[in-house]
Each structure stands twice: as C-alpha cells, then as structure tokens.
C-alpha cells in the first residue's frame, strides 16, 4: 500500500514532542491546598515570593519566620525551612535565626495586626538595627484570622467587627503607615509599598520582592515590601469588588511607591 504524503510526515515526526513549560508551581511552594479564602491575595503573595526564591536560586538557603494571623500556616506552603513566631515577634525570632546563620536568607511574612499593632516594637527595632532580614508585609486593613476586627491599618470610617460604627479617628487615631515609618530608620535599605489588585501592580510587586531579597543578600540592611491585599470575607465583598476597593479606597490612604531605596539597589535595578 502506498504511503500518502501526510502519513509520511507523521511517520517522520519525532516520537515525543517537547513541550515548553510556561507556567508551573514554583519549587519553593509545597504541593498542598492553602486554607486561604477565595479571592484572598495571600495566595498571590505566596506565589510571588516563591517565584523570586526560585529565580534567585536560594530555596535551600532560605529560612521563613511565619507570624500569627491568616498566614500562620505559611510554613506549610513554602518548601523552605521555617519557624513559627509568637504574635508580632517574627522580626525578633528572625533576628535570632539570622545571627546564627548570617549566610542564609531570612524573611518574615506578617500581616498588619501582627506587624503594625502587637509587633510594632519588634519591627521598628529590627529596622533600627539594620537587621539583614526581609519582611513581606500584608496589609488588608483588618485582623483577618480572628474575623475582621479593626487593625491599626483600618481606614477612617471603615466598619469592622470591633468598630461597628466605623473607625472613629477621635477614639482610635488614624491609620498607621508602616513603610513610611520604617523608611526613616537608618538601618532600612529598602522600604516600598505595592498592591496586588491587578496584574500590572502584581508584576511590580514581584519585582519589589526580588529587590528586597537582593538587598538582604547584598548585606545592605533591613528590607520590607508592603503589599496592599484583599480580604473579601471580612470586608463583605466579592473577590472582584475587593480588588476595586484596594484601588479606590486603600491606595489613597496608602500611596504606592518607593519610600527608601539604598543607592546600591538603584544601580542594580538598571
């Protein structure tokens, strides 16, 4: 039987077609389901951090200090050595780890209740010492894990389960802007705010996370990336409404931008 040109082409084709992998789970993430709510951007933030860890080739030299809040189980999601700190104390615990392993990359992953309220002292002093650690700071304007109470970052007038009449500035003071505060510390090498509300900003956040880790690796001092994040469950919104709320309500109070960038990092970013 004669072989048609089409059959001939098929027969001549290589047995295995090599596929190009364009997207996969970063090696620095474990293969488990997270407990995060639908529409929450913690998952995005985890992925960005894991991608940067992969990209920099530092997974085996990285130690995570998880905090108390929604990200308390972060140590189950990152395939790196990890320890779980007491509420607010992640920067102190990370200091202990880093002083023992100065050659390792040590990062904390903290929410706004943890970092800006109970852990205000520890984060400020870690920065003051120029502790060579990196902090990923998730700001979603509420205490997520305990069910949406008012945080130091809660917006003026924002209704939460512990500010049922809206945040009253006379009673509770105004929102705390952490990266602005931390940028005033001489020990801070890198302090920026980014947002996870859309793709463009998420890509910018990823770049910032990379720069923050690079600041640590170069031994420049303390580095922090604040990420404006969504909490649809506690905000009482849909996932997409919550992303709009970040853009429309959070960013005016928490302007995105670079608050401190060590000169050595400006060079490396070019």
């Amino acid at each position: 039987m004669a072989v048609s040109p089409t059959d001939q082409k098929i027969m001549n084709a290589p047995a295995v077609v090599k596929e190009e992998i364009v997207y996969q789970r970063p090696v620095a993430l474990t293969n488990v389901h997270t407990h995060y709510c639908p529409g929450c951007t913690h998952g995005t933030a985890h992925r960005l951090v894991a991608e940067v860890i992969d990209e920099l080739g530092i997974r085996e030299d990285t130690i995570l200090v998880a905090s108390v809040g929604c990200s308390v189980f972060a140590y189950n999601y990152f395939e790196v050595d990890a320890c779980e700190a007491a509420h607010g104390r992640a920067p102190a615990m990370a200091t202990g780890v880093k002083r023992v392993h100065p050659d390792k990359v040590v990062f904390t992953y903290q929410g706004d209740g943890d970092l800006a309220s109970i852990g205000m002292g520890e984060i400020m002093h870690a920065a003051a010492r120029g502790e060579k650690i990196t902090t990923i700071f998730i700001n979603n304007a509420v205490y997520g894990m305990t069910g949406g109470q008012m945080a130091p970052t809660t917006l003026p007038g924002q209704i939460t389960t512990s500010s049922p009449f809206g945040r009253d500035l006379q009673l509770c003071g105004a929102p705390v802007r952490m990266v602005e505060l931390l940028s005033n510390m001489d020990g801070t090498a890198y302090a920026v705010r980014r947002s996870l509300h859309d793709a463009r900003h998420t890509i910018q956040a990823r770049k910032a996370i990379r720069t923050a880790f690079e600041a640590q690796i170069k031994g420049l001092g303390f580095s922090i990336v604040e990420l404006l994040s969504s909490c649809p469950t506690n905000w009482g919104m849909t996932a997409s409404e919550s992303l709009d709320w970040i853009r429309d309500s959070m960013i005016p109070t928490y302007p995105l931008g670079d608050y401190k960038v060590a000169p050595e990092l400006v060079q490396s970013r070019k």
């Binding site: 030299d61 140590y75 790196v80 002083r99 390792k104």
Partner: protein, 371 residues
C-alpha cells in the same frame, strides 16, 4: 585552673562562655546587669554573638529563633523581666528547643525593688508560661555552684531539648567569692538535624508550637509529659544535705536561704542541738522522694522547717512530699530581706522545746511570715 575572686553575675556569664554558649540575647535589669555587660565584651572578643535586645520580650524571641536555628543560646534577666519572657518560654517548651535562662531574682511583686528574693520559685518551677510544662530549674547557693550549674544547664538543655533555668537571688549575683572556672569548651558548629538551617538535600524543617487538631495537640502534650517524666526518673534530681544524723528538725532551704540556714545549723549543732539541713539543688525536678524519705531515714525527726525568701512557695512542695508524716513549718522574709541565722535558730529552738515559747512571741512578729 586556679581559684579567683569572682562576682556571681560575672561567674554565670563566664561559665556560659566556657560551656560553649554561642549566642546571647539580653536586656539590662538590676541585679543581673553585670552578666549582660560581661557578655557584651567577651562574646564579640571570641567571635560569638552578643545582642542587646529592645525588650525582654524581644530578647526571649531572639533566643527562640537562635535555638530553632540550632545554636547554643542563653539569656538572663531578673524577676520582672522573667515575667515578660514567659511568652517565649511557653513557645520554646511547646516546640522542644533547648535554651538556658539565668534568673537573678529580686523582690516583687511589680517593680518591687532590687534586693535579693526567692519569690520567682512558683513562677519558674510551676508556671514559666501558659500550658503544661516545667523547665529544669537549678538553684546554686555559691558562686562556684553558679559556675558548675550553668555548665550543667547547657548539657541538660541539649540532652532533653528543654529550657533550663538557673535561678539565684540578687545576693549570689552581686557577691564576690573565690571560685574556679573550667577550661574553655570548643563551640560546636554542628547543627541538630531538626534545626532550621536551610532545606538542603532534605524536606523542609518546621519549628512550630501550633497544632490545631485537638488529638494532635493532646499527643504533643502527652509526649511533653513523657519527656518530663523521663527527666524526673533519669537521676537528674540533685540535692545536698548536712548534719542529718539524729536530727530532730531538718531545715529545707535553697540558694541564699540555705547558706544562712547552714550557718544556723552549724551553730546549733555546736550548741548540741539536733538540727540538720536538706538543700534542693534541682527545684524542678524536685527531690520529692528524698524529702519523703527523711522521716524514715531519721527516726528522731520531729519536724521540717522550711526557710525561704518569699511568702512560702517551695514549702508546698515539701508538704506534698512529706504528706503529713511530720509537721512542716515555714519561715520566710520578703521584700529583699535576707533572714539571719538567729531568727532561724529561734524558730528551730521553739520546735525543739515548745514549752519554752514565750507567751508574747508571735510568729508573724518582726515582719516574718510563718505558717
């Protein structure tokens, strides 16, 4: 090494260094500050880590981090600072990491004062933090013992992956005595397999105290209790005794109280009075069995006299051990007052010959508490 005149606080610090302490975190507080100061010069000199934290809360969490990272680590403080550190102690107990804590006790409650006291006994032996755990607690009564027990503390901490406290009152921290320091041990840079060191060629290590499942957390507690039982049964109970033969009264005291009691006992023995001394060195595990056996060992024993620099804390452990075999009496001074041998002697004499008790003498006179 020859004996040298050493201040208690400096002896604690130098002993830790000789024991191979690699990392120290602390915060200034009287009457332990010389310990921190000694560390601040010696540790960097030896290429080791000294860091003055912003608070006791931060210090203890730095200790937690360093312990999780697998280093031989220590902190020190005094009573109000120990209260602040309780958060970290509980987390460390739950996650089975070793660390050494020196507590140079001062008068409480509150800010109290900076005079010597033993009022942290309950806090340290029974409730060093929330949850069910006990650290090992060692109580030196001399500067030499401060050195020896600090070295032992590191060994026990690592052997059992536990917290070990060395508690002394401000007297021992502040006084100078001739004492001998051991040779310098090499610092081990080998890290335990459970420590966070970077997940190289293995799956990731996690140090945590969070176990949301009730069965899971009960299991953690059962394992912890097993470990505590193992420590109690492994011959880690330590104590000292003197003049027990034929004693009608045995004084039970630790630390500085025991030193004062020893003077009183010696004097009374010289005067022909049958008095002995039992000094717990491990406050946890407590020498419960050894104290329980005292009435059987000493048929003449009429009563136990506990002397402490507090309102009566260890006395309850002694009463539990004695379980009604003989009366257990208590005498204590508070507020930073150290009992004098005479008042101990007076109390013991009343027990030996109760008929001689003057009608006017009340047990609570002169600021003493007694029960």
């Amino acid at each position: 090494m020859a004996k040298q005149l050493l201040k208690g606080n400096v002896a604690f610090a130098e002993a830790a260094i000789r024991a191979g302490c690699e990392v120290y975190f602390g915060y200034p507080i009287t009457p332990q500050t010389e310990l921190l100061e000694h560390m601040s010069s010696r540790m960097p000199e030896l290429g080791r880590v000294f860091l003055q934290a912003e608070s006791e809360v931060a210090a203890v969490n730095m200790v937690y981090g360093a312990a999780a990272a697998g280093a031989r680590v220590m902190t020190s403080s005094s009573s109000p600072g120990i209260s602040l550190m309780q958060e970290g102690f509980s987390y460390m107990a739950a996650s089975n990491v070793p660390a050494v804590v020196i507590d140079i006790m001062r008068g409480g409650p509150g800010l109290g004062n900076i005079q010597p006291s033993q009022s942290d006994y309950n806090q340290v032996t029974k409730s060093a933090g929330h949850g069910d755990f006990h650290p090992i607690v060692l109580a030196p009564s001399t500067v030499q013992e401060a050195i020896d027990l600090t070295i032992l503390a590191f060994d026990l901490a690592e052997k059992y992956r536990t917290l070990v406290f060395v508690i002394a009152d401000g007297t021992i921290g502040q006084m100078m005595e001739p004492a001998e320091l051991p040779e310098m041990r090499p610092v081990s840079t080998e890290r335990p397999t459970w420590a966070v060191t970077g997940a190289r060629d293995r799956s990731h290590n996690v140090i945590t105290s969070l176990f949301l499942g009730a069965e899971q957390l009960e299991q953690l507690n059962l394992d912890l209790q097993d470990k505590l039982l193992q420590i109690q049964q492994a011959g880690e109970v330590r104590y000292d005794e003197a003049y027990l033969e034929g004693a009608e009264v045995v004084i039970v005291a630790f630390g500085t109280s025991a030193r004062v009691a020893q003077t009183a006992v010696k004097r009374m023995r010289e005067a022909g009075l049958p008095v002995g001394l039992f000094r717990p060195i491990t406050l946890w595990p407590f020498p419960e069995k050894e104290i329980a056996e005292l009435p059987k060992r000493i048929p003449a024993l009429k009563a136990i006299q506990v002397v402490e620099m507090n309102a009566g804390q260890m006395v309850h452990d002694v009463r539990e051990a004695i379980a009604g075999q003989v009366p257990v009496q208590f005498m204590g001074r508070m507020g930073g007052i150290i009992p004098v041998p005479e008042e101990i002697e007076e109390k013991v004499r009343l027990t030996l010959t109760p008929a001689q008790m003057p009608a006017t003498l009340k047990e609570s006179s002169n600021g003493r508490v007694a029960h």
